[in-house]
Amino acid sequence: MKIEQLKYKTSDEVDFVIIGSGAAGGILAKELSTNGFRVVVLEQGPYLTEADYTHNEIKVLGEDLLTNHQKLQPTTFRKTPQDKAKQQRALVYGRSVGGTSVHFTANFWRFHEIDFIERGKVGAIPGANLVDWPIRYADLEPYYTKVEWEIGVSGLAGASPFDPPRSKPYPMPPLPVKSSGVIFERAAQKLGWNPFPAPMAILSQPRPGRSACVNCGFCLSFGCEVGAKSSSLVAAIRVAEKTGRCEIRPDSYVHRIETDARGRATGAAYFDRDKNTHLQKAKAVIVCANGAETPRLLLMSANAQFPNGLANNSSGVVGKNLMLNSAAISMGVFEHPLNDYKGFAVSRILHDFYELDAQKVGFYGGGGLDGRFDATPIGFALNGLPPDAPKWGSAFKKTLAENYTRTMEVFSHGTSLPREENSFSLDPELKDAWGLPALRMTYKDHPDDLKLAKWLNDRALELLDAAGARKKWSYPITEQEFAVHLLGTCRMGNDPKTSVIDSDHRTHDVKNLFLCDGSSFVTSGRGQPTMTIEALAFRAADRITALAKSGEISA
């Protein structure tokens, strides 16, 4: 159900060109077009809708139907700036209209107050570049509420004693509980913890044009065929298109933001499907291309005025302070079938360890646990059995048949400390299929991040013990070399010397250039960034609207 829409000419100077149609770009498109502005959204990937989505794991995952393409868009990785990067797949992000919100798990945790002010509370941490946000939870609270009501989030307000204050309850009740959720809840309560229904950006009740979740079981990594998962496509972009002022232009790979002699952005240069170059003119440019592609685009847009990359003169931190969120996974096998392949991924979580006492545990950090199952059949057979399970033969088949319906995961999500040397940058040698510099990731976890992952994982194992799992095991916790959450690479701040954007999401160096996505983050939160990306986008839309109406963008 693609909505017929207007087409702008590239020579039309629209009010805003938005680069990226994901969690942030979709919401900014909706808000700004609703507010009366003329908007073009340039999306790198194709315009896929419900009819194009499929449950086939090989098309979706092996072929990158919905994600950055590992062959056309190769990447490199190194641990430190001193190393030479080697080619390997370093990250995954959504690459179709709706971006990563099409295929995400849809865990929708608000940040808590502490996430914005932690540096002030815990002080300096050696080896980390931890600072506080220029905004507070209270600034974002109305926008978290807006996300829940406008985008569609199911949950139970007040269920967690650790929840931050909220101005309204959730718009709809939690999704049904899964067997993994019941097991998780009972075991956690036995241990004196406070499990609660997971807030999820998946509809438990239908909305106009969107079904409630039908529990198909192909959720994480897949697009939702019934519109129940609250992607920016179904929840925001269709609203934007209906205003008659917003054009979504897919297959448009932006490779350069152009600037004029005054150092103002004039538009975005992009390749179309046939690799022809166009320049979409705009009064202002908003980059929502994700925490990897946003800094890459700024770095690729370097020119004589901005030799280190666009909006990178004052601070030099574009692409730096990358955070991934620490993570750990433990698996448990139970006596009876859970059939957890049915439904969405997560139905119960807990936040008892959101804020750990560094004096007691010996490291900085905090996080949450969730109970889930998110494996596809082939993926489970190849990677979901215990390490000592047979690999072939009748015993393998028997283990597979036993475990597939009886396995659940306890997933630990936690903080990452920002380190300036962790970054996305341009690889000096490798090019993508368009001849553009490949993304190079440099990443080495802060030691506290690994200690936190291990500590949380020990709680996960305790939980599986308390639950009576007949077998449990964990995936090894080692330094991360693969990025799913892409955070902090164009951080927000009041000081132009140490941050890229101000609290209005405007770059310090280019007055009509705005950035909004995971790159805007100052801290990593506890592992579920999309809710905050969307709240920031709603807030940014208000701020940008106010600036535009007062003439401060065009001045």
């Binding site: 086939n56 794991e57 090989i58 098309k59 995952l61 092996g62 072929e63 139907l65 590992q70 390997q88 995954v92 269920a159 509980v177 899964k178 067997s179 019941v182 956690a188 309560q189 913890w193 406070n194 499990p195 609660f196 039908v214 529990n215 198909c216 079981g217 192909f218 990594s221 993570a327 996974i329 009876h336 079938p337 059939n339 957890d340 049915k342 439904g343 998110d374 494996a375 596809t376 059949p377 082939i378 993926g379 489970f380 190849l382 990677n383 072939w392 033969g393 009748s394 088949k397 597979l400 048949a401 597939y404 319906t405 995936y475 090894p476 916790i477 080692t478 991360q480 693969f482 799913v484």
Partner: protein
Amino acid sequence: MINELSRRRFLFQAGIGVSAAWASAHWPELVAAATHAHQAAQSGAAYKFEFFTPAEAAEIDALSARIIPTDDTPGAREAGVVYFIDRALVTFGSGDQQKYRDGLPELQSQVRAKFPGVEKFSDLTPDLQDELLHVIEASQTEQTPARRLSSARTFLEALRVATISGFLIDPEAGLGNRGGAGWKVIGREPAHSFQPPFGYYDKDYPGWQPAPKMADKE
């Protein structure tokens, strides 16, 4: 080297396991391969292999039947895995061709070395087939200069991934995994819409209540 957790987040949690060995996968060809296997299995007529000779196909069939055997439930053979692999090797899985070209003859030379007078893997009894596979598998941990062992192992690992993929691929719309045999074995219902209760543990769930500790405080 991608570390284990990242690999799991990517391969398993993101469910992309198949792409490691089948990195060159192209979906249309995969569908064709699966449909091919489906039709071949249904027609009952002699099937014309595209990559394997009939003799090689018999070896692959025997090998994949040891990876996922037929016992009280269907195995790779009933799911038509050999046809799936044959089609794959001339299309999306063509990057694996050399592994099969090198690996199968190496494996057969091991058959002859271990069981003098026997030429082919498929001529061995299932017990002896398993015995040989265990020897090759165990050789993984040995420091051995024998290139034959390593190419036989590489081949067997590729064959294992291919067999599992052909066995468990989504059967909907006739796309392989003949008759949904693989999903039946693992206990996955073929529907794509479910209602709670889903499993044993949520069937008598009384509804969410706050943790007792929290309730006591109030």
